[in-house]
């Protein structure tokens, strides 16, 4: 019987191609627009490190001004960055499985000083634990050890793309590069690694690519560099040297720790609270105790990585989908009611209401599937447009199998909802009325 209904649906679709196209078009547009915004939203709010996102924490210490909180919202929240002295105090703890303080900094990089021109390359200065903590995949070699961290060794880990550019993709471990006129030895090459969002540093755009160069944290400190990112200060202090800057209340460093269970987390929480209370004796940490450990998803939420604009687009596009559905309801109703005399004949010849409902449901289903497929194409085009409008959305606005499935399911559900009332109406017509000729 199902095959029979499919045949009837096909005949009906062919009989009214324009109306059918309108219905498919309405559903497709609704799906296309809503899937474009939903995909953006979905990717933006995705988990960049699913394997351990609940065990890796961004540290917040409330070192801010006693007069006002750093964030006004929710009755005040501590700054997202740490001061240098606090970051160093945390690094001295051996509670976390891994931990790393870090900053972003640009370098003038070239292979060697003979001939090649320097180019600007963004680097992450951090501790060797960074790679293990964030499960960074290595193509060649590895990160550096604690000793290299302590001695500020001139070692570097480079990304696959940079390795391709400078070394033609060969194993470059042991080779050297020149950064700001100093020689660095390459100890590792990381494979493609692109956490979306770039959770560990949201200051330079939450969706920019991971760095292609990593050096020990103490290297830029020795070179007396400030970070390329946000540096926020609240306290009037005389800062006439780099040493004074390092000791100041300015916040400018990201700090991440890995804590594998609740016990370890509690221990570290009491460690940082203890540090804060100790510092309070020295005149710092004058705000109420508010030191936080945010796991990755909490952190992305706190930093509002998904912008209000994206949420708003989802709301508006959902309203658009509803409009498209109302449209489809109207068109289906028109089409089905127009066919009432034929349904009347079928009812007279013995079709039950269920037969009529099934026949029309199959037609609605076909329209839904077609709308979903066309809508998927529209979403694909929409995402190409979105990628061209935002330069950092290159890897963001892409459809994955989950979203493809969601789109088709959404289209079918949408079509079935749209078809519900028209199908009910057509199955409840009085056959006798439609049998007499006009």
């Amino acid at each position: 019987m199902t095959a029979y209904y499919f045949r009837l649906a096909w005949i009906s679709i062919r009989r009214n191609p324009l109306l059918t196209c309108l219905m498919i078009g309405a559903i497709a547009l609704g799906i296309g627009v809503s899937m474009t915004t939903l995909t953006l939203y979905y990717v933006m709010s995705s988990n960049p490190l699913p394997a351990k996102s609940e065990r890796v924490f961004a540290v917040q210490l409330d070192t801010w001004s006693p007069d006002e909180p750093y964030y006004d919202r929710d009755g005040g929240a501590p700054p997202p960055l740490l001061t240098y002295p606090d970051a160093m105090a945390l690094m001295a703890s051996d509670i976390p499985t891994y931990q790393a303080t870090m900053m972003h900094r640009g370098f003038a990089a070239r292979l060697d000083t003979s001939g090649s021109r320097p180019e600007r390359i963004g680097a992450r200065a951090t501790y060797g634990d960074f790679f293990a903590m964030f499960d960074v995949p290595f193509l060649y070699g590895s990160g550096w050890d604690r000793q290299a961290d302590e001695r500020a060794d001139r070692v570097a880990v480079i990304g696959r793309e940079t390795n391709n550019k400078w070394f033609g993709g060969e194993d470059s471990v042991g080779r050297t590069i020149n950064l700001d006129d100093e020689v660095f030895r390459i100890v590792g090459v990381i494979d493609n690694w692109r956490p979306v969002p770039k959770f560990y540093d949201l200051n330079n755009g939450g969706f920019s690519d991971a760095e292609q160069l990593f050096v020990p944290f103490q290297v830029p400190i020795q070179l007396e560099y400030q970070a390329h990112g946000n540096t926020n200060c609240w306290k009037p202090e005389i800062i006439e040297s780099y040493a004074q800057f390092l000791q100041s209340e300015c916040v400018w460093l990201q700090h991440w720790v890995q804590l594998d269970d609740a016990e370890q987390k509690a221990e570290f929480q009491s460690f940082i609270d203890g540090h804060a209370l100790e510092q309070r004796e020295l005149g710092r940490f004058q705000r109420p105790l508010d030191n936080r450990l945010n796991d990755i998803m909490q952190w992305l939420d706190f930093r509002r990585v998904v912008s209000a604009d994206n949420a708003l687009l989802v709301v508006l596009s959902m309203m658009f989908l509803v409009i498209c559905l109302l449209n489809t309801v109207g068109l289906m109703l028109a089409k089905f009611i127009n066919r009432a005399p034929l349904v009347g004949v079928r009812r007279a010849l013995g079709a039950s209401r269920r037969d009529v409902i099934q026949q029309h449901a199959v037609e609605v289903l076909l329209i839904g599937v077609a709308g979903g497929i066309v809508g998927l194409g529209l979403a694909w085009i929409g995402l190409i447009a979105v990628r061209s409008w935002y330069d950092d959305y290159e890897y963001l606005a892409r459809l994955d199998p989950f979203m493809v499935l969601t789109a088709v399911m959404l289209a079918i559900v949408a079509a079935l909802i749209a078809g519900l009332y028209p199908t009910w109406r057509i199955s409840h017509i009085q056959p006798a009325i439609h049998l007499k000729t006009q």
Binding site: E240, F320, I323, L326, N327, L331, L333, A334, Q438
Partner: protein
């Protein structure tokens, strides 16, 4: 007019009319809120910066390693660049309006650390900044050559500053700012020697867009801003970059681009948002129009016989046309009435959830008139079809 019979017919065929009215109401809510956001962003993006941005190119040059004499290097670079045909003036500056990176600080009104403060974004630069950016001095004077400090010590505080009119008003109200001082948190005073008409901040979404100050400092890693003939702007970008490389190939020369490009980059999200909202709005109107056409055609097809009968008993074509237009007008009006309420409900939600601006009532009549017009336009085709129905259909038997 024949409102009452049309209305009673409508009430008996509720579903179709209700569907259209609901679509129009939702369309209105989407369109009004989108238009409002679009105009709000467009207004933000239209704010003047106080500089001649269409004539400016910015280049970043960083010396790698070793100590350099910032003044002589800067002067040499400027000499070379100004010799290029099409380049009018070159200055060295810490950052640029709307470049999305820069510094701001709060300054006190007195040495007393508890005294009131005003936050300003500050630019540091050389003598040429005035002419290169196209700033306008409104009171007092520009810097003197000897006031410009090259490669200042870490933590040094300049002796003099020029405030924007807006910042001067924040500090001193309507009093004369010349000769007055503003103070750092550690109590060091900076004399205000002049004011400029307008200079915007490097970022636009944190308020106080025009509260800025200029400081006479030049550091080695500052950027060059180059005033060129706007007609040759794009062509000069590679010429300028090559000239800078040729001076010393061991320096890092990066991100040479027109300032308009930088501004477009800064506004990229708002531009994209406006594009997406415009597309959604356009599609909403399109879909709703098609819906109206579809259902109007259906309603005409269903009533062919009735229309024929009306024609047979003397209704003129014009009456039939009018009938359908009035019918649609009634439905559209119902939708608009519902849409007014819905628009405010949606806006209220957007304001509370997403910090969107509150709806301005002035848009409502505009969008309502637009929807009436679209409704009539969409009905016109089917209504004209109805008007051409042959009166003989009334007496024909199939």
């Amino acid at each position: 007019m024949e409102f009452r019979p049309i209305l009673s017919t409508l009430l008996r065929n509720r579903t179709g009319a209700l569907l259209i009215a609901l679509q129009i109401a939702l369309t209105m809510a989407v369109v009004i809120n989108s238009v409002f956001i679009i105009l709000d962003r467009a207004e933000t993006m239209r704010q003047p910066l106080g500089i001649d941005e269409e004539a400016l190119i910015v280049a970043h040059v960083i010396s790698v390693g070793g100590d350099v004499d910032v003044r002589s290097v800067t002067e040499q670079d400027i000499r070379v660049l100004e010799a290029i045909d099409g380049v009018e003036r070159v200055a060295k500056i810490s950052t640029m309006p709307l470049s999305n990176s820069g510094s701001s600080s709060t300054y006190h009104l007195s040495e007393e650390p508890r005294s009131p403060t005003v936050g300003v974004a500050y630019y540091e630069g050389d003598m040429n900044v005035l002419e290169t950016l196209g700033l306008e001095i409104t009171r007092g004077r520009w810097f003197r050559d000897e006031e410009i400090i090259y490669d200042p010590d870490e933590g040094a505080v300049p002796a003099v500053t020029i405030l924007s009119d807006s910042a001067a008003k924040e500090f001193f109200g309507d009093e004369d700012p010349l000769g007055r001082f503003i103070y750092t948190g550690t109590g060091r005073g900076i004399e205000v020697i002049g004011t400029m008409r307008m200079l915007s901040r490097p970022w636009y979404n944190w308020g106080n867009f025009y509260d800025t100050a200029l400081m006479p400092f030049v550091e080695g890693n500052y950027q060059y801003v180059i005033r060129v003939d706007p007609a040759r702007r794009e062509a000069l970008v590679p010429v300028i970059e090559q000239a800078l490389v040729d001076i010393d190939p061991d320096r890092l020369v990066a991100r040479t681009r027109t300032h308009l490009e930088t501004i477009a980059n800064t506004y990229a999200r708002d531009i994209a948002m406006n594009r997406m909202l415009s597309i959604v709005m356009l599609l909403v109107v399109l879909i709703t129009s098609l819906g109206i056409i579809g259902l109007a055609s259906f309603s005409v097809a269903q009533r062919r016989r009735q229309i024929g009968t009306r024609r047979a008993i003397g209704a003129r074509r014009y009456h039939i046309l009018r009938y359908f237009l009035v019918e649609n007008w009634l439905i559209t009006s119902g939708g608009i009435a519902l849409g007014l309420v819905l628009s405010f409900v949606v806006n209220h939600f957007l304001v509370s959830e997403y910090n969107m601006p509150k709806l301005d009532a002035i848009f409502l009549p505009l969008v309502a008139v637009g929807l009436w017009f679209i409704g009539l336009l969409a009905t016109l085709g089917p209504a004209r079809n109805a008007a051409t129905i042959d009166p003989a259909i009334a007496t024909r038997n199939v």
